[in-house]
């Protein structure tokens, strides 16, 4: 297993895209914190502002870091097929389970490290601007930040699974962007139409929407007149997203073992 980890670590570090994707993710999320600081530097920092500053706008539906890291996850296997390197990879490491485990370990560890670094940078920006971060380790902010880390990890896991499932990059990218941005938003929007109220029970099972609830500061309020979606709790919603990631990864893994390289 150590050999496979060494291989995968070298693979990740020798790709230029690894650096620019992480760089872009950090730059954009830091930019959000800086923007908030510039706009609100004369007011005391609220929990909501601190929350958005630390998760780089992921809290209101723009999970920049998760998206950039998910692309790294897609590349982990997608690049192997796109550029034909799966052949030298498997003649170097023919034990397919070990290879996938190593890829997962390296991608998830990198994601965890980058997410923590991103939050630390943004916290630094908050301290520079406001000189304090009230309620950082208290509920609900502390829990929401743990949820943010889990959300990024699960998002990357979905990307990884899609790259392996589709054995390429473009299809995986399309699904990971199309599903949360268009399909889930469309189902949610349509469920508000009385004639389509049969979609209401579906909403609480939308995986990316559920995943985003992991990092929420407060339960969502859809306003008066909105259907009762009977949403799961934060952790149960996270469980739906985790189950979705697990299903994609399992299907991809089984097919990877069965298919010709």
């Amino acid at each position: 297993m150590l050999d496979a980890l060494r291989f995968e670590w070298t693979r990740l570090l020798t790709l230029r895209s690894t650096y620019w994707l992480i760089g872009m993710g950090l730059l954009v999320t830091t930019g959000v914190a800086v923007l908030l600081g510039v706009a609100g530097r004369n007011d005391p920092i609220s929990t909501e502002v601190l929350w958005i500053a630390l998760n780089g706008a992921a809290g209101f539906g723009l999970p920049f870091l998760a998206v950039f890291m998910a692309i790294i996850g897609i590349f982990a296997c997608g690049h192997e097929y796109r550029h034909g390197t799966i052949q030298p990879t498997l003649t170097s490491l023919p034990q397919r389970n070990r290879l996938i485990l190593a890829k997962l370990a390296v991608v998830l560890t990198t994601t965890l490290a980058v997410t923590i670094v991103q939050m630390a940078i943004n916290l630094g920006v908050v301290y520079v601007v406001w000189g304090e971060a009230p309620g950082l380790f208290e509920d609900p902010l502390g829990t929401a930040l743990i949820g943010y880390v889990l959300y990024v990890l699960l998002y990357v896991l979905v990307g990884f699974g899609l790259g392996l499932l589709f054995r390429g990059v473009p299809s995986a990218l399309v699904v990971i962007f199309l599903m949360p941005l268009i399909i889930e938003n469309m189902i949610f929007g349509l469920s508000n139409i009385p004639q389509l109220d049969w979609l209401v029970p579906v909403v609480k099972f939308l995986p990316f929407t559920d995943g985003a609830r992991l990092m929420e500061l407060a339960a969502p309020d859809f306003g008066p007149g909105a259907p009762d979606f009977d949403l799961f709790s934060r952790w149960a919603s996270g469980g739906v997203f985790a189950l979705f990631a697990a299903l994609i990864l399992s299907a991809a893994w089984i097919l990877f073992k069965k298919r010709d390289a």
Binding site: D3, A4, R6, F7, W9, T10, R11, T14, L15, R16, S17, H79, H83, G84, T85, I86, Q87, P88, T89, L90, T91, S92, L93, P94, Q95, K258, R259, D260, A261
Partner: protein
């Protein structure tokens, strides 16, 4: 030593590899021949576990998937350009080396050996096909393996490169390594290979040494030259030989050289030359695999053909 037993692969209704069994001995270069689509690449991929099918291949007694750090025991080159376009050639090899506990020093060694030392930090997307093949060979040699499997390694190489590749493979074989190499360049294979595995439509046509293959699939001819051989034709034909005149000599098919010599002696014909003309590997290959061609092109039309430009022979 490579031992392949009962290799079988089916794609829906098409059988690509049909129960192939053969041995590849160490110390010699074994050529792997077959027409396009005959299943050569699929066979190699089956041997390395890249494709799933039936049968078993043992590399010095071990299945490929059970070998720890396989690059150190089996080197493979299967595709022409299996490299990430933005990762440098050196880093590509460093990545493979990292998974097999091979030091970076060895990476630089093989890059120098294949003649890519000066461009090792460049990205393979800028490499010519010949350079990519050299990098592929460097990849195969990275772990200094006892066994090499190379699929069309001379593709894209210039004549110097082909000559170099031939010398490298023969030298490696002379060191006692097992070399299994496919190629479409039959003239090259004739110079390089000692033994052959020849397949057609996924089935075994021949497994043995090159001389036996040529002998088995072609008819050798005897060349007879002398001051007055005109009258000798009838005697040769009477013994069952097929005779044709060629550049002042008689070319005899269907009779052994000893028989022709004896006939000349008994009929009192003076000879200046009595020799055997061996068929080429290409002729033997065409004879052996003619019925196994997967994709058959039309014969070119010499005159009045629709595709031939005016005044230009095809």
């Amino acid at each position: 030593m490579i031992t392949a037993k009962g290799l079988y692969k089916r794609y829906r209704k098409t059988v690509a590899v049909d129960h192939l069994s053969f041995d590849v001995r160490p110390g010699v270069v074994t050529g792997f021949l077959g027409p396009n689509g005959s299943g050569k690449s699929t066979t190699m991929r089956l041997m390395l576990g890249l494709d799933h099918g039936e049968g078993e291949t043992l590399f010095d007694g071990k299945r490929f998937g059970t070998i720890r750090r396989p690059i150190n025991e089996v080197g493979a080159l299967l595709e022409a350009k299996p490299f990430h376009p933005t990762r440098s050639a050196r880093n590509h090899l460093r990545m493979l080396a990292a998974g097999n506990r091979i030091p970076d020093r060895r990476v630089d060694e093989v890059m120098e050996f294949v003649g890519l030392g000066d461009v090792k930090r460049k990205k393979p997307k800028g490499y010519s096909l010949g350079m990519a093949q050299r990098l592929g060979l460097a990849q195969a040699l990275l772990g200094d393996p006892r066994i090499l499997l190379l699929d069309e390694p001379t593709n894209g190489l210039d004549p110097h490169g082909i000559h170099w590749m031939r010398d490298v493979l023969k030298t490696l074989a002379a060191e006692g390594r097992t070399i299994f190499v496919s190629s479409h360049l039959l003239s090259e294979m004739q110079l390089m290979a000692d033994e052959l595995v020849v397949i057609g439509r996924g089935t075994m046509i021949f497994n043995g040494d090159v001389d036996t293959f040529v002998r088995e699939f072609t008819q050798s001819q005897v060349v007879v030259r002398g001051p007055d051989t005109a009258g000798f034709t009838a005697a040769l034909e009477a013994e069952g030989g097929e005779v044709k005149a060629e550049d002042g000599a008689l070319v005899v098919s269907g009779l052994e050289i000893g028989k022709v010599g004896h006939l000349a002696f008994t009929t009192g014909v003076e000879l200046h030359e009595l020799s055997t003309r061996r068929a080429s590997l290409e002729e033997a290959f065409m004879s052996a695999t003619g019925a196994s061609e997967e994709f058959v092109a039309k014969e070119p039309v010499r005159a009045g053909g629709p595709a031939a430009p005016e005044g230009e022979a095809l």
